[in-house]
Structure formats: C-alpha cells, structure tokens
C-alpha cells in the first residue's frame, strides 16, 4: 500500500550523525533476554524506574524499561554522552525531551512502541512525532471513525474496499498520533482537531496547523513501511527532510 523506496532498515554506521535535513528512524524489538534487561535497568533514572514500577504486568514493565534504555543508548550515540548521563524533562502533555543542558545539539526525538516493537525518531532542529500500531481487529472502529476522524478521512473510508479497511484504520490512527505527538500534545487532547488530514494512503503529505505561523510550524507526514502486522507513521516539522532508517542490533 505504501510506496516507500527510501525505507530500508539498515544497520547503523559507526560514525553516526543526523544532519539538519535528515530524520532518522530506529526500529527495535523490546522483548529481550532477562540478563540484558537487568543490565539496561541500571542506566535508567529514578523517575523512569518509578514509572516502570507502576505497571501491573511484568511484560509492560520490562518493555518500558527496554524502550527507555534503548532511547538512552540511541541518543547517546548522537550526543557522545554516556546513556545514564542523559537527563529528560516532560512537557505539559507528557512529551519527553532532553533538558536544556543538552540543548546545544538541538536534538529532537520521539518514541512509540506497540506490542513489543519500538520506533524512535531523531532529528536536528525540528520537532518530530512517531507512532507505531500493531494491527488487530477493532470492534469499535466505525464509532471511532465517526467520533474522531475528519470529514475527508470519513469519506475515504466510505469508498475504501472492505478487505483493507482495518489497515487503513490503523494507518489513519498512526498518522494522527504521530502528528499530535510532533506538536507535543498527544491524541488524548484533541484527536478531532486533526481535521487537516488526510488522504491516508498518500505516503507523504504536508500539513499546516492553522493556529501556528505557517513558516515555522508546518509538519509533513509519512507512512513507514513495516512488517505485515504493524503500521507506523512519522511527522516532522517542515517538508524538506529525508528519512534514514536504522535497525537497532538485536544484542545491543
């Protein structure tokens, strides 16, 4: 469905850097051997471990631990800082970012994980948002479309063949989420204000959030090509950026 010739998941080069016109996406599996996970725990902050401790299920707990540990490992490659030295702050709507001490590198990032698969977006000097969703049947899909999707999205669903509606639903959802996360809000706030979208199967699209000045806060969206069971999308400020996709090593 997505034509994405630029999206090949490569092993990262040793001399990794993200330039101003790139957006890097990392893909990583979160279910890892217990011995690795215990080591990963050591690089997390007290805040992160507190959040991890709140999950009722061990699976959620360990996936959160690995997701945050890999985030630190990935960012440390760009910043030349030890992973446990990184400090994060949380925006009013929960979006994590690096503290001002690391502001000089102008590194922006975002992460998402669903059912054991994590995606990380890293960019320099532009906000990014990313979302991955595991495709599964949704009994409430019609109501959610009615309630939260824009007029153009609804129209797309009306004309779409039944056999791929499920994937379309998740693609739409991932795009909304990625866009909302790029703006630092998250879908909990205003999914229905996302009315500038969208012809969901177009791989790239420029969006303009009306309340921001158009020069600075244009976002463009792309679908990411994933394994069959997942869909994903990325949003980043501006439209002149290209993607580089890295596969995080299995034993890293």
């Amino acid at each position: 469905m997505v034509s994405a010739l630029d999206q090949v998941w490569l092993p990262p080069p040793a001399d990794l850097a993200v330039t101003g016109d790139e957006v890097h996406v990392w893909r990583a599996w979160l279910d890892r051997p217990a011995c690795h996970v215990k080591d990963m725990q050591r690089i997390l902050s007290a805040d992160e471990l507190d959040r991890a401790a709140c999950f009722r299920f061990e699976k959620d707990h360990w996936r959160f631990v690995v997701a945050r540990a890999l985030l630190r490992a990935i960012l440390s490659r760009y910043l030349n800082v030890e992973p446990d030295q990184l400090r994060f702050r949380t925006g009013d709507h929960g979006k994590p970012s690096l503290t001002p001490a690391f502001a000089q590198a102008a590194l922006h990032f975002n992460l998402s994980h669903s059912d054991g698969l994590a995606l990380y977006a890293v960019a320099r000097g532009r906000e990014v948002g990313i979302d991955v969703e595991r495709v599964c049947p949704i009994a409430e899909a019609d109501q959610i479309i009615e309630r939260l999707f824009s007029a153009s999205e609804k129209a797309a669903f009306r004309t779409h063949p039944d056999n791929s509606r499920q994937e379309l639903f998740f693609t739409c959802w991932a795009r909304k989420e990625a866009y909302a996360k790029a703006r630092g809000e998250g879908l909990f706030l205003a999914p229905d204000q996302f009315d500038r979208s969208s012809i969901p199967w177009q791989p790239a699209e420029l969006l303009r959030a009306h309340e921001y000045s158009p020069e600075r806060h244009q976002f463009s969206l792309r679908n990411l090509s994933m394994d069959a069971e997942y869909v994903a999308a990325i949003a980043a400020e501006g439209d002149r950026w290209r993607l580089a996709c890295w596969q995080y090593p299995e034993s890293g």
Partner: protein, 363 residues
C-alpha cells in the same frame, strides 16, 4: 499486592469493569486500578470512550482519563459528579482510604507528584488508610505556594477535614519531608499530638549563601504563573536572565515556556532553600537510603541533626537515593514504616495518662 483489590460496587462500575477487562484483555480489574498502569494507551482509550458514548450517550473527551484514570473515578464522572473546580480544590489525594488503622498522611516530593506512593500503600496493606497531598500548581492553573509554611498550612487544613484531631501519623518524601516537618511544627503549635513524623529519603537542603537572590528568582517565578502562556517566556528571560546561573540554567528553555511541573519543582526547591527550620519539640524518624550522594555521605542525619528535641531515629533502607519506593526496596520501607507506626501508637498508650490529664484541663 492483591490486598487492596476492590471489585465493582454498583451498576456503572460493574459495566465499566466489564468493558475495561474486554478492551485491556485483563481479568480481574479492580475499580481503583489505574488505566495507564494496566498498559492503557490512546487507541484503547478511544475504544473505551466509543463504548461509553454508545451506552451512556455521553461524549466525554479522552483527556477525562487524566483526571479520572480509575473505574471508580470514571464512574463518578458518568454519574454526573462534577469535577472539582478551583474553589473546592483539595490537596488531599486518597491513595487507599479504607481500613481501621489511623491514617498515614504523606507529602509529595519536588515535582508535586503522588504517583510514587501506590506501591508503598499496597505493601502497608488494606487496613492502613493512606492519603497523599498534591501540590497546588501541578495542573498549571493555580499559582504554587512559594513558602514551605504555606504548603504545610494548606495540607494541615485539608488533613483536618479527614482527621480533625491528633494523634497524627505524618510522612514526607524528598522535599515533602521538609513540608511534613513544618506540618508537625504547626500541629504541635495548635496543641495536637503528632505520633509519628517520618522523613523518607529527605535531605535537609542547606540554605545557600545566595539565598537573597534565590528569593528574587522565586518572586519572579510566582509572577510568571500569573501571566498568560505567551507572556511567560518573555518575562522569564527578562527577569531571570542574569539573576543566578543555576536558576537561569534550570528555568530557561529552548524557546518554550517551561512546563507546570518543572516550574513547580523549581518553586518548591527555592522554597526549601529559603525555609528556616525551628527546633521541633518532638521526635522524628529518618528513613535513609543506604547509598547517599557523596556530599551527604558523612552526615548520618542528612542535615537534620539538632532540629528535633525529642531525638532523631535513623532507619536505613538498603537502596540508592530516590529508589526506596520501588520493588523490592519498598517492601523493607513498608515494614520499617509499619514498625514505626506501631511504636508511635504504643508510645501514645504509655503516655495515655498525661493525655487524659491534658484533655481534662482543656475541657
């Protein structure tokens, strides 16, 4: 862990429990389980609210879950119980309101969050009521207090709505320890008994030589909160730039207004540095992490020495700083805390005759 499980108690809660179990794929779910701790995320929330809309014909925003993340609270919203406006704001957060023991009241750490207390409460068991305080200003709507004394006064007032008379069992985590210390002072000054004052991983923050500048920063931060969001940054950069290096470092951000939580953290930190503790007439217990940051390593009393006339009891929890609320250390903390509460109750029994005498005089 399972001790605090509460099943649904009416039709609305029963219906919500069924939906949560179906959507989250988990069984059983208690009415006080937190949606996000169960692995809930935005798509699951969308499914939940789609179902709610169908049955209740109420179209609630998904952000409702931030204020009402449990079945119990969501049922309250659906029954039409109004969310609290600022005039009925209370700092008190019931973490576990049931039980026959005298309640334990515990003050938040620097970020004003009470998230960390759930696990401790579970380990204290279903018979131990547990209340936390949340800091005014955490929602970014109200201005936070800028003095420790004001935090303490508000919390004492809200606490007395639940428990009007002593003996009180108080605790505080991190900066919350300083607030709990001041609450105990105010309660004693009102003639109340404090059966336990527990400082959990709470270091006394030493007054800095630059504290007059710190005060100025504090005033500015207070002012910022009264400004509109768009004016905040400009004001901050104007006033804070050049006042102190540290404040500048922690408040100035990359062209964004600081988040409410970051501001609150900063305000409480400044308030703590400004606070001049008087000698507390009673006794206090310090729950100390085994591993302390280097600058406190040599001080077994974490800076509190000489500030409690009744003595300071130190209980070591074998953990690093900031981690005593996590498994497995939290189990040791719960055990030690329970022992201290027992000791507080027994001390009260043995002093019972004095009590009778004093209350006789008051009457």
């Amino acid at each position: 862990m399972e001790g605090t499980f509460t099943g649904p108690r009416d039709k609305v809660e029963r219906w919500l429990t069924g939906i949560w179990e179906e959507i989250l794929g988990i069984h059983p779910i208690g009415v006080r389980d937190n949606f996000f701790d169960l692995g809930g995320h935005s798509l699951l929330a969308a499914r939940l609210f789609a179902r709610i809309e169908k049955v209740f014909a109420q179209s609630l925003p998904m952000s409702t879950l931030f204020h009402a993340p449990t079945i119990e609270q969501l049922a309250g919203v659906l029954r039409g119980e109004k969310e609290k406006d600022s005039s009925s704001w209370t700092s008190l957060m019931p973490i576990q309101p049931g039980g026959s023991q005298p309640p334990f009241f515990c003050v938040h750490g620097g970020h004003g969050r009470t998230l960390t207390f759930g696990t401790l409460s579970r380990h204290l068991g279903p018979d131990q009521p547990f209340y936390a305080f949340q800091a005014r200003g955490i929602d970014g709507e109200q201005s936070p207090h800028t003095r420790i004394e004001d935090y303490a006064a508000e919390y004492v007032m809200d606490m007395q709505a639940i428990q009007p008379e002593g003996p009180y069992f108080l605790g505080g985590f991190c900066s919350g320890g300083t607030i709990a210390f001041e609450m105990a002072q105010q309660l004693r000054a009102q003639g109340h008994e404090v059966a336990m004052l527990a400082l959990l991983d709470a270091r006394r923050v030493v007054r800095q030589p630059r504290s007059r500048l710190g005060r100025r920063v504090l005033i500015h931060v207070g002012n910022v909160l009264r400004l509109s969001v768009s004016d905040k940054l400009e004001y901050l950069l104007d006033k804070v730039r050049g006042v102190t290096q540290t404040a500048k470092h922690s408040i100035k951000t990359r062209g964004e207004a600081p988040s409410a939580r970051d501001i609150l953290d900063r305000v409480i930190d400044c308030a703590e540095r400004e606070y001049v503790p008087q000698i507390y007439p009673g006794r206090m217990i310090l729950f100390r992490p085994g591993e302390q940051p280097a600058e406190y390593y040599l001080d077994p009393y974490l800076g509190w020495e000489g500030l409690a006339a009744g003595g300071i009891e130190v209980r070591d929890i074998p953990t690093g700083s900031g981690t005593m609320f996590r498994e497995p250390h939290v189990q040791t903390l719960a055990r030690e805390l329970r022992a201290s509460m027992e000791a507080g109750k027994n001390a009260r029994l043995s002093a019972g005759r004095d009590e009778v005498l004093r209350s006789g005089q008051r009457a």
